[in-house]
């Protein structure tokens, strides 16, 4: 099986590695232990499956075809297909040259934590600060992991974490690794390529009271389909009724509409409505700090007196995992967000990045219409954020990958940042071919 085939298999079957003592795994390769010398305890360690998303990126990197296009990983690219270092970040780096590299507190930089909570919750936070706890985390993944561990430990046994269908594949992995059960709620409607709002509400009503719901703040990954503000209000009504706990996954604030406050609507709504809730923030995309692993976990309680206890437990979990978080990325964010000029520059750059994505969406739609590609492609401009769920089928994806060296996920998810004026036509040609030849 090629790398990408294995990847597609994993996504199709929604599999993460089930660890069993017999090590019966599809992709298992038995090592040829020919040495017969010092016995090894690891002779029967099977070869694990490649991560569905990062595996595609690996395949792209290995491809030598000059026409290749990478629309797999959710990382921003500029008009020339290059990673973009934000000017506000570069200026902040200049100021940090030679700075001491002492250990941070276990929960990270206090100023960073305050700024992060303020960025997400805005004025909705006023008066509630003392019953909120924020810890610096290893980007969104790290925040989710620490939050889910906390949920497993302190929510009633049997609490289930509900994740949208589909969602970022790592959500289920994180639950599994943390020893908590995950389930799905309806979300994406393949027929409309939009939100299955009725299905979503029905599943929320059917779930046992007090379940956790992982909600994407904005720019849903992978579909790009977000509820409207009105729909968010209905969601909040139902969740209030059922006493559900929102866990906001906030990886794209500022990236969806270009407006930080607009994008944060849902989190502020839940806070204003009096929920006890969680949020996982990532600065990977909106600050371009992907590899610096910069993020924050916030938990909101109804009471102030439990906050110090909660913080102490969070710190214990962090201490046993990695002791304290890395300084660099958090310092960069803190430097920018505490400087009004740098913040203004950041807001401008955020608008430019999200603006370019919106522009790409329009151009892709125009190119598909111009070629009269069969089907309705409006969803490409109706969806929002970095990704679009194109609706391409597996055989069609295969044509894009194998014939045209255009890398996207087997689910049909395209990361639009990988497209630009130089390759949109090529992409549209490929889609035309893929759609017409599989009819």
């Amino acid at each position: 099986m090629s790398t990408l085939e294995k990847v597609s298999e994993r996504i199709k079957n929604s599999l993460f590695v089930p660890i069993d003592n017999n090590n019966n795994m599809q992709d298992s390769i038995n090592s040829n232990d020919v040495s017969g010398q010092v016995p090894t305890l690891f002779a029967n360690v099977p070869l694990g499956p490649v991560d569905p998303i990062l595996g595609v990126s690996t395949a792209f990197k290995a491809d030598t075809d000059p026409r290749k296009v990478d629309t797999s990983v959710g990382a921003y690219r500029d008009e020339n297909g290059k990673p973009y270092v934000l000017k506000c970040v570069y200026e902040a780096e200049k100021r940090l040259l030679g700075a001491p590299k002492e250990y941070l507190p276990i929960d990270g930089i206090p100023e960073f934590n305050k700024l992060s909570a303020k960025l997400l919750y805005g004025d909705a936070m006023n008066g509630k600060e003392k019953r909120m706890v924020t810890v610096q985390a290893l980007s969104g993944t790290g925040a989710l992991r620490i939050g889910i561990i906390f949920i497993r430990k302190y929510l009633p046994a049997g609490t289930v974490v509900y994740i949208s269908r589909p969602s970022w594949t790592n959500h289920h992995n994180i639950c599994k690794e943390s020893g908590i059960q995950s389930a799905e709620y309806a979300y994406y409607d393949p027929k409309t390529k939009g939100l299955d709002f009725t299905g979503m509400i029905n599943d929320m009503k059917a779930a046992p009271n007090g379940s956790v719901f992982v909600l994407h703040l904005c720019a849903h990954n992978p579909t790009g389909v977000d509820p409207t503000h009105e729909q968010w209000n209905v969601i909040a009504d139902v969740m209030r009724e059922k006493n559900h706990i929102p866990f906001m996954d906030c990886a794209y604030q500022g990236y969806a509409s270009g407006d930080l406050d607009y994008d944060a609507y849902s989190a502020r709504l839940f806070l204003n409505r009096g929920f006890e809730m969680f949020s996982a923030q990532s600065y990977s995309k909106n600050f371009g700090l992907y590899g610096e692993r910069t993020g924050a976990l916030t938990i909101v309680s109804h009471r102030e007196d439990v906050i110090p206890k909660m913080l102490s437990q969070l710190k214990m979990d962090i201490r046993a995992m990695y002791s304290s978080p890395p300084t660099h990325g958090a310092r960069l964010v803190t430097t920018v967000l505490s400087d009004p000029e740098l913040t203004a520059l950041w807001v401008k750059e955020l608008k430019e990045m999200s603006g370019r994505i919106k522009d790409v969406r329009q151009k892709v739609l125009d190119a598909l219409i111009a070629r009269k590609v069969p089907g309705n492609w409006e969803h490409i401009v109706n969806q929002i954020g970095m990704f679009t769920y194109t609706g391409l089928t597996k055989p069609q994806v295969d044509i894009l990958v194998n014939k045209y060296h255009i890398y996207l996920l087997g689910s049909g998810r395209v990361s639009l940042a990988g497209l630009n004026n130089k390759n949109i036509d090529y992409f549209a040609d490929a889609v035309l071919d893929a759609v017409t030849s599989t009819q």
Binding site: L138, Y154, A206, E276, E292, A320
Partner: protein, 424 residues
């Protein structure tokens, strides 16, 4: 994974009404204990006395009591800044060039395992992160095994293994009456451990005691581990920092590899590169074959992805920039030797002043122990007196961080220690 929301509607939550339910989520959250090590810094920071001394956290301080950013690190930092590199995701296993350099630094460039690709190395969140990956990996692939750590050991060892679900026992190590190694107990306990147990060894500069086995003693331990089929895990947080020579400090690790142990190795670059807060480390497992190394690596990736996806790049880039450059590497070598030499010098000064201020105790262990830490032999009560009467802060097990000592405060410290141990 449950696909239908209806599946678990039968789960009972009791008859609590909704309002009570929603306010009681965190009522059963106990306040956790303050971390003992980092707690010392908190107490020190609160103290307003001008003569206060912090002998708590194991972070190097220079002659003026200030954090020390290595010159080679500053240069590497500038290089990276001027290159305007992006902040793209590292692969799950981290920066490949860094992984290679880290393994070579520990195991030597001639290491057969590296040459033959019989090693899986992943970048980790410093030493703690490496240990946690190790523990999670063992929990999955060495099911049922117990981990043996020295008594005493770094407090976080126990917690890391516990959170990964691995039972922990200890083997004899420190002899309080000699302030040295209890080699008999160490050998006996490691021998008695069930076959195939996980044995955690501090590669050098044992934390918290500063007591290391001799070469002959290491040889014997290696032999015992072989006979008992034990799995050896090295915690290597002080390469270069102990003796001043990275090669000397790697001697035990390299001896075990020579002897045929396919070890697991946890490296930290926090102390020896002064990169504490950047969380840079590496975790390696030596294997029988390249295929096995790939298998192991693939499983490590599966553990890492749901923990933090991929590691932070900044620290890895700094170390890589230094170790791939001959000049910067030489500069690093002389700087790490400088740090080690200052520590060694302070040990000697402390003993000198203890004698000068009339202490008749045998303090020779202060100079025979090695590395950042020293197990003074002070009791918890004496430690409390040092804090309350002299504004000198250390952990209650009597461990001092020598890095907190300098020529300005060494005599004051000696006087205080002499005073609180006077009648014992």
């Amino acid at each position: 994974m449950i696909r239908s929301a209806r599946l678990i509607s039968s789960v009972k939550f009791g008859q609590k009404n909704i309002r009570q339910f929603s306010t009681n989520w965190w009522a059963n959250v106990q306040k956790g204990p303050e971390d003992p090590i980092l707690g010392v810094s908190i107490a020190y920071n609160k103290d307003t006395s001008p003569s206060k001394i912090n002998l708590g956290v194991g972070a190097y301080r220079d002659e003026n009591g200030k954090p020390y950013v290595l010159e080679c690190v500053k240069k590497a930092d500038k290089k990276i800044y001027e290159a305007n590199v992006d902040h793209e995701y590292a692969p799950i296993v981290g920066v490949a060039a860094f992984n290679q350099l880290a393994a070579q630094l520990a195991l030597g460039e001639d290491c057969k395992h590296i040459k033959e690709k019989r090693i899986a190395t992943v970048q980790s969140i410093s030493g703690t992160g490496a240990l946690r990956i190790a523990a999670d990996f063992f929990a999955r692939f060495l099911k049922g095994k117990t981990a043996y750590v020295p008594n005493p050991t770094w407090g976080n060892h126990n917690v890391i293994f516990a959170d990964a679900g691995i039972p922990v026992k200890s083997y004899g190590y420190y002899n309080p009456s000699t302030c040295g190694l209890n080699f008999d107990a160490m050998s006996k306990d490691i021998t008695a451990a069930p076959e195939g147990s996980i044995i955690l060894l501090h590669a050098c500069a044992h934390n918290p005691t500063g007591v290391d086995p001799t070469t002959e003693q290491w040889k014997k331990i290696s032999q015992i581990c072989k006979e008992r089929g034990h799995f050896v895990l090295f915690d290597f947080a002080y390469q270069g920092f102990a003796s001043g020579s990275p090669e000397k400090d790697a001697a035990a690790v390299r001896m075990f590899v020579e002897d045929g142990h396919n070890i697991a190795l946890c490296q930290s670059f926090a102390k020896n590169f002064g990169l504490y807060g950047e969380r840079i480390g590496a975790f390696s497992i030596l294997t029988e074959s390249p295929e096995q190394a790939l298998n192991v690596e693939s499983q490590l990736k599966i553990l890492i992805r749901p923990m933090y996806s991929n590691p932070p790049v900044y620290g890895a880039r700094l170390v890589q920039a230094i170790l791939k450059d001959k000049e910067l590497t030489n500069e690093w070598r002389s700087e790490v030797k400088g740090m080690a030499d200052r520590i060694i010098n302070m040990r000697e000064q402390l003993v000198k002043y203890l004698k000068k201020h009339g202490s008749t105790r045998d303090w020779s262990h202060i100079t025979t122990q090695i590395g950042m830490f020293c197990f003074t032999g002070l009791t918890p009560e004496q430690v409390d007196r040092l804090a309350n009467e002299y504004h000198i802060y250390l952990t209650r097990n009597g461990r001092i961080s020598i890095a907190g000592i300098n020529s300005t405060n060494v005599e004051y410290l000696a006087k205080a220690m002499a005073a609180v141990t006077k009648d014992n």
